[in-house]
């Protein structure tokens, strides 16, 4: 879940500025001025000085242009040079997150710190109970030796004055698969052998030091200069992100310059049908359970951390997969652009040759902002009636289960379970399932984000609002059905 904070706003401001410059055809001339404009000398600096602040902005832009910060060859390379490459489209390497090392504050090495509440008592339970002999008392105050401390936390529990505080490292703490760790310089580094692109570290870091690699400049350049025809594939979660109804949102997307728009919910119709059939077949063949396949972060989790789960995952393509097939068939000369609330979809798209670009909710919002597109314009168009209401429901946890149960006949009813969010606890449960299906369910719906896609890492609307807006988008279809 993304809490509103200044680091998020900085990212969005950068996206808006970049798209604006590109739209005015002044990107190459003015991109190197963005750090100066956003961090003027007159402001009091956020970090040590204005120069540091500007460097942070520079590297955040570099990440948004689609580059790995670690790949930088020459520190003097101006942003304009990167922008030229970004317009052409960067070569993807299958990893879609990068640490902006300049922004990483190298949070504490050791999670425990002695505060000034320390009374320097005679008992010194912290020192006496420390298994590593890491605590020394200097000038009447306990000190933790960072070389010796192993973060066990016994000193904190032992101190009767609550003088020892726990300082988390937000990115490390939020990662469910321990994929982010400090390197020798104290800067965080993502281990892509482990990373499942859930985006939790990105939303957790209050310095905004972890950034997704965006394709937005490449895409918008091609749209603006009509280099490519494009078809936008709009995920159902997008319909929950703006204060407007779904036809208004879809119209606003067309106004950006996309030639065609299809709803990913249309592909979800097919996912529901095939997945239901597959489930019944598998259960008849004696499988103990099946899990969903639509969450790309979960798929990456299974591949990297729990290969024993793979035989139990449905082989049915995700709604994005089916929609991309449909889009390719209908518009063979168009580039397909998935618009959704998900980082891991970039990985899924990377492996799926039918998807050419992935745009996040934030990037879509930034395009609306930069191009001054008002989402609230009145429209007369009616929602697409090929889409089932349940298919839009895929965006919230429980949606897939609901869609499948809606088409099962009453004698076929199955027992279902929802794994709502990948965290340490649900991962333990998932890993245990192949050995023993302890919950006894036939069908497990797995969502990496708790709450589902409407609570994705790159969304704009707060979760509570997304819930009610998604309900509204689903009900719009129900009223159309009842009218007919």
């Amino acid at each position: 879940m993304t809490y509103y904070n200044n680091a998020v706003i900085t990212k969005r401001e950068l996206l808006v500025r970049l798209i604006k410059l590109l739209d005015e055809d002044t990107l190459f001339e003015k991109i190197d001025r963005i750090p100066l404009e956003m961090r003027p000398r007159t402001n009091s600096p956020i970090r040590c000085c204005v120069h540091k602040d500007r460097a942070v902005i520079k590297y955040k832009i570099m990440a948004l242009l689609g580059f790995n910060i670690a790949d930088e060859q020459d520190e003097l390379t101006p942003l304009s040079e990167y922008a030229v490459q970004a317009i052409k489209g960067y070569e993807q390497d299958g990893n879609f997150l990068t640490v902006v090392d300049e922004a990483c504050s190298s949070c504490v090495q050791v999670n425990y710190t002695v505060s000034n509440l320390c009374q320097g008592c005679e008992g010194r339970p912290c020192q006496v109970n420390c298994p590593k002999d890491a605590i020394m008392v200097l000038n009447g105050k306990a000190n933790i030796d960072h070389q010796k401390c192993v973060n066990c936390g016994i000193c904190q529990k032992a101190c009767p004055f609550h003088a020892i505080a726990y300082l988390p490292v937000p990115c490390e703490e939020s990662c469910p698969v321990k994929a982010i760790r400090k390197n020798a310089n104290g800067i965080e580094e993502i281990d892509f052998e482990k990373c499942i692109h859930c985006g939790k570290c990105m939303t957790a870091c209050p310095f905004g030091a972890i950034s997704g690699k965006s394709q937005i400049l490449n895409l918008y350049y091609n749209i603006k200069h009509k280099q490519e025809k494009t078809v936008a594939m709009v995920a159902p979660a997008i319909l929950s992100q703006f204060k407007a109804n779904s036809s208004q949102i879809i119209n606003a997307i067309k106004e950006i310059g996309f030639d065609e728009v299809v709803e990913v919910a249309e592909g979800a119709n097919l996912t529901t049908d095939h997945e239901t059939q597959e489930l019944i077949e598998r259960l008849n063949e004696g499988a103990s359970f099946m899990t969903t396949s639509c969450c790309p972060s979960y798929i990456e989790f299974a591949e990297k951390h729990a290969p024993e789960l793979k035989p139990f995952i449905s082989d049915t393509p995700s709604p994005m997969g089916y929609t991309a097939q449909l889009a390719r068939k209908r518009f063979p000369d168009h580039k397909t652009v998935f618009i959704g609330p998900c980082l891991a979809k970039r990985k899924e798209a990377y492996k799926n040759k039918d998807v050419d670009y992935v745009v996040t909710t934030e990037e879509l919002g930034a395009m609306f902002g930069a191009l001054k597109i008002d989402v609230n314009i009145k429209t007369d168009s009616n929602p697409d009636t090929v889409v089932r209401p349940e298919s839009r429901g895929y965006a919230a946890s429980g949606g897939v289960t609901n869609a499948i149960q809606a088409i099962l006949s009453s004698e076929q009813q199955i027992k279902t379970e929802l794994i709502d969010g990948l965290d340490k606890k649900s991962i333990r449960l998932l890993k245990s399932l192949p050995k023993k299906n302890a919950l006894g369910a036939d069908f497990y719906e797995v969502m990496a984000c708790d709450g589902g896609c409407i609570n994705g890492p790159v969304n704009i609307a707060p979760y509570k609002m997304s819930q009610s807006k998604l309900k509204q988008a689903i009900n719009e279809l129900k009223t159309v059905e009842s009218v007919q």
Binding site: E13, K372, P462
Partner: protein, 89 residues
């Protein structure tokens, strides 16, 4: 029609305000103190038309017609409390 309330909070629904934090302001009602809740009406409004300045002003709200730039839920609630307290004096 809703009965006329003492304080009218209009939240700019223009896209820039919306993406720069305005989306979160729509949950304002959850943060209002109980004493104020009955007195405040919250509505979305079209863009106020201030977007072209170079200063950072997003998101914007209007409280009884007076604009409050760089709004946050906290700021709006504080403003409303001040208005209400002044009124009680």
């Amino acid at each position: 029609m809703q009965a006329k309330t003492k304080y009218k909070v209009e939240i700019c629904c223009g896209t820039m305000c919306y993406i720069m934090g305005g989306a979160d302001l729509h949950l304002l009602n959850d943060y209002l103190p109980a004493a104020l809740r009955q007195l405040v009406s919250i509505e979305g409004a079209p863009c106020f038309g201030n977007c072209d300045t170079h200063e950072k002003i997003h998101p914007c709200v209007r409280i009884n017609g007076v604009e409050l730039p760089n709004a946050s839920t906290r700021k709006i609630v504080d403003k409303l409390i001040i208005l209400e307290n002044n009124d009680l004096l």
